[in-house]
């Protein structure tokens, strides 16, 4: 009964208590499932004995002995190497435990007899696995604490050790969840066992050269990268040590995100069978059609049943098409940024947002891409792969460039509703032929951009913290200001891009020029102000400049609104110009790349992740 009384199990049971009391048959089924899976007394005795004897050995004696030996023979680097190795083991153990729990745990077996949702069960299982992983945190803390103690580090050294431990642990949880979500059928346990044997053998047979192999072991072992990078930076008094805050924060952020993905996609029913094969879907022509559409099949006419020509009644048409597509999707299947945006928009604004994005926003996807790219770059930078041997300036610029990469990625939007399309012999904004006001559009865009910028601020914030260390408060303020500038500018840019400047009446041109020049003038003013030497003045100027730029951006935005709403700006170009043709050309390239992505996704869905991709690489049919 130990397992049933766990807090997670209690939580689920209390949620369905009323239902159990109301339905005797359900209660009977649940109780019989509980009885059938109750552990035997012998098993309980063995469990208790093992825990009583084994816990002190596993948690205190063996690790302390191991740490002492490692430090004696190979110094802190070897401790880090083993810690990294154990991190990789933990990273493999996490998905193995999680998947095993999902497939075979008693909690799931019993509670699947209740009308509990798969999401609830998956959450419980993840929480249990997470709780087990706290043991991993203990070991990691032990290792890094020992390093700090044996090296008689100062308080800052202890802080760095703590930071490293948290980093390694978050790596285990995040990477483990990601592996479980992405490769649910992979045998992580077997791979982990093989690696464990190989690793122990390597360490044992190479005892005399422990230090040498420890470095290589860390380099080859992703779990050890963050630890070694930060330790190396700290011991060399390199202030870039603070760079570790970013990946650790990102990892900690990613962990719940991946957990949500796990809860969303994992259906317990898939694991009811002993094998890990997914059951075959029942064949149905309609399902086939719907499924193929989802997979972006282009030759739809080939899938049309030939006999579908006439229909007996409307119900037949309704059955064929389904009506769910007619009604607005709630973006609940989209990422968390989309869901947040959905939450904060009014009904009419949701309609406009759906129109502007073609109901296919991919904000979360790009945020994840930016996070991933930033993380990889920072780890590489921390490992000194990206530190150019030129001068200090370039070394300082590299992280700044990463920073701006994130900002620029926040500007990538598919505002399909603002695209210009052929219309009446010329080009017109897509929204022009529908009853949508430009004020509505800009308000929705502003709201969405604002919410998005908050999410991107999560990426920027650790960077600013890092910059405050080596470069000072001033640069940090400048970085935040610059990011705000670019992000706010994109709102006006996004809106104005959808309008027809060639058709702008000449009498209004001077006004446009003045308003457009204000932000540029402010930017130049900022640049000149940096040439001064008064730090107080710098900060004041920067703050004033950022405020001015933001205000002028809003000014441009409102100005365009007024031009369009009052009819001073046509929504159709009079004639195609060179810029328009160029834009169309790039649009074609973008569409083609999207098409390629869809082919890749389709092929991977059909043939598996790796083989599906390889088929395309070798020019085979997707």
């Amino acid at each position: 009964m130990i397992w049933v009384d766990s807090p997670q199990a209690k939580s689920i049971r209390s949620r369905y208590q009323a239902m159990l009391q109301a339905s005797p048959s359900l209660r009977e089924e649940y109780q019989s499932a509980m009885r059938a899976r109750r552990p035997s007394l012998l098993m309980m005795f063995l469990t208790v004995t093992t825990i009583a004897l084994g816990l002190p050995m596993v948690f205190a004696v063996v690790p302390s002995f191991l740490i002492f030996l490692l430090n004696e023979h190979g110094g802190p680097v070897s401790v880090f190497a083993v810690a990294g190795f154990l991190t990789t083991m933990g990273t493999l153990a996490f998905p193995e435990t999680l998947l095993a729990q999902l497939q075979r745990s008693r909690t799931v077996a019993v509670f699947s007899h209740l009308p509990a949702s798969d999401r609830d069960l998956a959450r419980t299982v993840w929480n249990q696995t997470f709780a087990y992983s706290l043991c991993g945190l203990y070991f990691i803390l032990l290792f890094f604490g020992a390093v700090a103690y044996l090296n008689e580090l100062s308080i800052s050294g202890w802080a760095v050790s703590l930071l490293l431990a948290m980093l390694q642990w978050s790596f285990v949880v995040t990477a483990g969840t990601w592996l479980a979500v992405s490769f649910p059928r992979f045998r992580f346990g077997q791979l982990g066992s093989l690696l464990l044997i190989a690793g122990m053998s390597t360490f044992y047979f190479n005892r005399p050269i422990l230090l040498e192999i420890a470095v290589w072991c860390t380099v080859l072992n992703p779990g050890g990268w963050p630890g070694l990078a930060v330790w190396h930076g700290y011991m060399n008094e390199n202030t870039l040590v603070w760079i570790a805050i970013i990946p650790s924060s990102l990892l900690l952020l990613l962990s719940p995100i991946l957990r949500e993905r796990l809860l969303k996609h994992f259906a317990i029913q898939e694991f009811d069978t002993s094998s890990r094969e997914k059951p075959l879907a029942v064949f149905d022509g309609r399902f086939l059609l719907a499924d193929q559409n989802r997979l972006h099949i282009y030759h739809v006419e080939n899938l049309m049943p030939e006999e579908l020509e006439e229909f007996e009644s409307l119900d037949e048409v309704r059955d064929l098409n389904g009506l769910s597509v007619l009604h607005r999707p709630a973006w609940s299947q989209c990422g968390w940024i989309e869901q947040t945006v959905w939450k904060y928009l009014k009904p009419r604004e949701r309609t406009i947002a759906g129109f502007l994005t073609g109901d296919t926003p991919r904000w979360t996807f790009w945020w994840k891409m930016a996070s991933g790219a930033l993380l990889v770059i920072l780890i590489l930078y921390g490992l000194e792969f990206l530190k150019f041997p030129l001068n200090q300036f370039i070394n300082k610029m590299a992280p700044a460039l990463c920073f701006y990469l994130v900002i620029i990625s926040s500007m990538y939007d598919r505002w399909q509703g603002l695209r210009t399309t052929p219309c009446l012999g010329s080009y017109a904004s897509h929204f022009a032929s529908y009853p949508i006001g430009v004020r509505e559009i800009s308000r929705v865009m502003f709201k969405i951009s604002f919410i998005k910028s908050l999410f991107y601020a999560l990426l920027i914030f650790p960077f600013v913290v890092y910059m405050m260390g080596p470069m000072g408060f001033l640069i940090a303020v400048g970085a935040v200001g610059a990011s705000q500038l670019i992000m706010s500018w994109q709102i006006a840019y996004g809106i104005s891009r959808g309008f027809s400047l060639p058709a702008l009446k000449w009498s209004n041109c001077w006004m446009v020029l003045v308003v457009l020049l204000i932000p540029f003038g402010t930017m130049f003013g900022l640049a000149f102000s940096l040439a001064g030497f008064n730090p107080g003045l710098h900060i004041s100027l920067l703050a004033a400049g950022v405020t001015l730029v933001f205000a002028s951006t809003l000014g441009v935005w409102r100005f365009f609104e007024w031009l369009v709403a009052s009819g001073r700006l046509d929504l159709a170009t009079n004639q195609l110009n060179v810029i328009q043709k160029q834009f169309d050309y790039y649009q074609v390239i973008l569409d083609k790349s999207e098409l390629r992505m869809q082919r890749v996704r389709y092929s991977q869905k059909k043939h598996g992740r790796i083989w599906g991709y390889l088929r395309l690489v070798f020019g085979m049919k997707p």
């Binding site: 559409n293 049943p305 607005r328 009446l424 032929s433």
Partner: protein, 243 residues
């Protein structure tokens, strides 16, 4: 909806595309805009729904001047360009639902009507297909269906008879337009096919060089076509053979 156009003028650079055009459209009429290429028909239609704004004059709907930010007025009409604005990745039914929502209609109240129109236009088996996979005629039908579902007071269509719709679609469109006109809707469309005018119009509006040359009933139009040298200049001899 009572529609009045007063002294409408529009220039692109030094070219005057519309020159002081004034006309009044009554309720329940099907009005065809006729004229050679570059006559100004398209520009006039663009002015109707605010895609472009006139240099002078104004369009009045129920005596209220039209502005682009008058969403309430714009929701009382629809405009179908020759190449409708569609998202290639969006499914047909979702597009229909989206347009209904843009007109502030609840899609749940129009399920039957949408299904009827899908069957009517031979798109019943394509409701879940992406718009980018459809032929031009099918895409035009898919774009037309939400507007026909809404059935607003003013219909504006550019070259519906050169849209690629098949005979079944064209017949359905004409039938629905006639029904709408009989209910007091106003249908304005442009065409260059004189055969269509005879069968599917109440009033004919002839435009050439930005000037309004004729705004009359179909019978009078054919009379003018026979007698007027100006008409001969605009439409040529084949027009007389057609009548």
């Amino acid at each position: 909806m009572h529609i009045a156009i007063e002294n409408l003028s529009k220039s692109f650079g030094s070219t005057k595309v519309l020159d002081s055009i004034s006309l009044t459209l009554e309720l329940g009429q099907i009005v065809v805009l006729l004229g050679p290429n570059g006559a100004g028909k398209t520009t006039l239609m663009r002015c109707f729904n605010g895609i472009i704004s006139p240099d002078e004059g104004e369009v009045l709907y129920d005596d209220e001047p039209f502005r682009r930010d008058r969403i309430d007025l714009r929701q009382r009409m629809f405009f179908m360009p020759d190449f409708p604005h569609l998202y290639p990745d969006m499914k047909v039914l979702r597009h229909i639902g989206m347009v209904l929502e843009l007109y502030n209609y609840d899609t749940r109240n129009f399920e039957d009507r949408v299904m009827e129109l899908l069957a009517e236009f031979d798109l019943a088996h394509l409701g879940n297909c992406k718009l980018g996979t459809l032929s031009r005629g099918q895409a035009y039908k898919a774009a037309l269906i939400p507007f026909l579902t809404i059935n607003p007071e003013l219909w504006i269509l550019d070259e519906p008879f050169a849209s690629g719709m098949d005979p079944r679609g064209l017949t359905a469109f004409q039938t629905l337009s006639r029904n709408a006109a009989s209910e007091g809707r106003t249908v304005v469309y442009s065409t260059q096919i004189l055969d269509v005018v005879h069968n599917f119009a109440d009033r004919v509006c002839v435009i050439d060089d930005g000037l309004l040359h004729d705004f009359t009933s179909v019978d009078e139009f054919y009379d003018h076509l026979e007698t007027s040298e100006r008409m001969l200049h605009i439409f040529g001899d084949p027009a007389r053979e057609i009548q």
